[in-house]
Amino acid sequence: MISKYLYLNEMSLNRSINLFSFLLMRLTGIALSVFLFLHIWTIGQIQKGNDSFNQAMSAYNNLFGWVLEYLLLLAVIYHMFNGLRLIAADFFNLTERQKGLLWIAIVIIALIASASLFVFFPIIPRNI
């Protein structure tokens, strides 16, 4: 029964940053797939009229909406840069340098995440 759950086996046998990045890639992938359908549904409010669309968009223009959008950004940039790392490893024969590439991806993600705080949270003064 347990052997069916490869993640759990791997987790207990081989705890490493590579496995953690693999799991996070899967988790962000599922979250972003769910968001895709939510996004299509939200944009679909246009079918009910202009006011419905504006209302749906305004519903996210508060602290709760900003937090959700920022979490979305974090999921997107992690999935994107970790994915680009995997593509680079696949196509440019960089499998042996995967760990180094992962750290480069983490630094880029941290930089974008920090800089984006000022864009996603208008209450933070930009001249700190």
């Binding site: 759950y5 992938g29 599922i30 797939s33 944009i43 679909g44 202009n50 504006n54 968009m57 994107m80």
Partner: protein, 115 residues
């Protein structure tokens, strides 16, 4: 036949990833950095008045739908499902994918008629 189909999907997953990476950067910059919040119908319609932007959004949508659903299929496959579950997943993902693509593109059209 099965192997070549898997190889095709593997390659498509990488190609759509690159399209999405480039497209999402543009999407985020335009909708989060350049447009002042809240996003309104007029701000979106102004952009979608151009055929180029409608084409851009449509290509991005199709790439995202393919990438997301094939990714979900891969995740399910990690758990070694039976052939029956796999078959069910293929049908379910095709239905979800076609619905998302059709509804998503249909959602773009009302914006083009605003200006």
């Amino acid at each position: 036949m099965k192997v070549s189909s898997q190889a095709f999907n593997w390659l498509m997953q990488r190609i759509t990833a690159l399209i999405i990476a480039a497209g999402l950067i543009v999407h985020f910059v335009v909708l989060h950095f350049l447009i002042e919040r809240p996003v309104t119908i007029h701000k979106v319609a102004e952009r979608l008045n151009s055929f180029g932007w409608v084409l851009f959004d449509s290509i991005l949508l199709l790439a995202v739908v393919y990438h997301a659903l094939y990714g979900c299929y891969n995740i399910v496959n990690d758990f070694r499902p039976s052939e029956r579950v796999k078959g069910f997943m293929v049908v379910l993902l095709w239905v979800l994918g076609l619905t998302a693509a059709i509804v998503g593109i249909a959602n773009l059209l009302p914006f083009t008629k605003q200006m």
